[in-house]
């Protein structure tokens, strides 16, 4: 069992407390105090299961800004583009498909980056991440793709995660 880091406890506590405030939505002192106590207990017991790397990255304003830009600009654009393409396939009778599983390389190294990238790929209609492996010092993703246009790993990777990976690389190397 890994040692629980202070930053991990702090980050888990913060997330729990923010959710308490958002769901409860009353700002009386006793309610906030009860929320803080419960969040602290939850954070102390569960932080070691969630975070294994340094959790202090969101205190760095440049990385936080990059993440906000990714969530508010880059990702929604990709999401809408993929959704429109998918809706067109569906309304066209689902005949225009060529499903397959391709293997693509990624330059992201950290747990955060890999999780964010594979979840972003899965959230985009038309691609689902099925497996993450490490080979020859690089991380590889196996992605189910509804319409395979490229079978070469590098070219397929560029088509699937091009802008997503660039946006995430600024946040988590």
């Amino acid at each position: 069992m890994q040692k629980t880091k202070f930053s991990a406890v702090a980050a888990t506590f913060l997330v729990c407390f923010v959710f308490w405030v958002l769901l409860d939505f009353s700002f009386k002192a006793e309610e906030l105090l009860a929320g803080a106590i419960v969040s602290l207990a939850v954070a102390l017991f569960t932080a070691r299961f969630f975070i294994h790397e340094d959790a202090g990255w969101f205190l760095n304003p440049k990385r936080l800004f990059s993440l906000l830009r990714f969530w508010c600009v880059t990702f929604p654009i990709e999401l809408v583009k993929a959704n429109v393409a998918m809706a067109r396939i569906c309304f066209g009778g689902c005949r225009d498909i060529a499903p397959g599983i391709v293997k693509i390389p990624t330059e992201l190294k950290s747990d955060y980056g890999l999780a964010a990238l594979s979840n972003s790929i899965t959230l985009t209609p038309g691609t689902i991440t099925m497996e993450v492996t490490e080979e020859d010092g690089r991380n590889w993703l196996y992605v189910h793709w509804i319409k395979v246009r490229e079978t070469e790993p590098e070219a397929a990777g560029e088509a699937i995660k091009g802008t997503l990976e660039k946006g995430l690389k600024e946040v988590w190397a």
């Binding site: 809706a87 009778g93 689902c94 498909i97 499903p99 599983i101 594979s118 899965t122 196996y142 509804i146």
Partner: protein, 112 residues
Amino acid sequence: MRIVIDLLIAAGLVFATAGTLGILKMPDTFSRMQAATCISTLGVLLLALGGILYAAVMMHSAASAIKIAVIALMVLVTNPVGSHVIAKGAYSHGIRPETKMDTDDLGRDFDE
């Protein structure tokens, strides 16, 4: 403002309809899951956006608006994890498309 809200909800329903059509007509498990992603992203997001605007502008209730935003956030966080696990589980359980896939790198690397 009312028109904007209605348009957002109608657009969300269009994407949900597309996803449902896809689930009914796609040929195999994985392609069906791809179509279902359409419902849980833009379908839910546009509906939630309409709901947030309705709660904030028509009902003047910030608490309801924030709760709808939390619902949308929860769907966005849990959906990719769920579909990833379902797809991986289906594949390792031996479910394959009826028609042979053009490229199947996962099968090539793990099946032998």
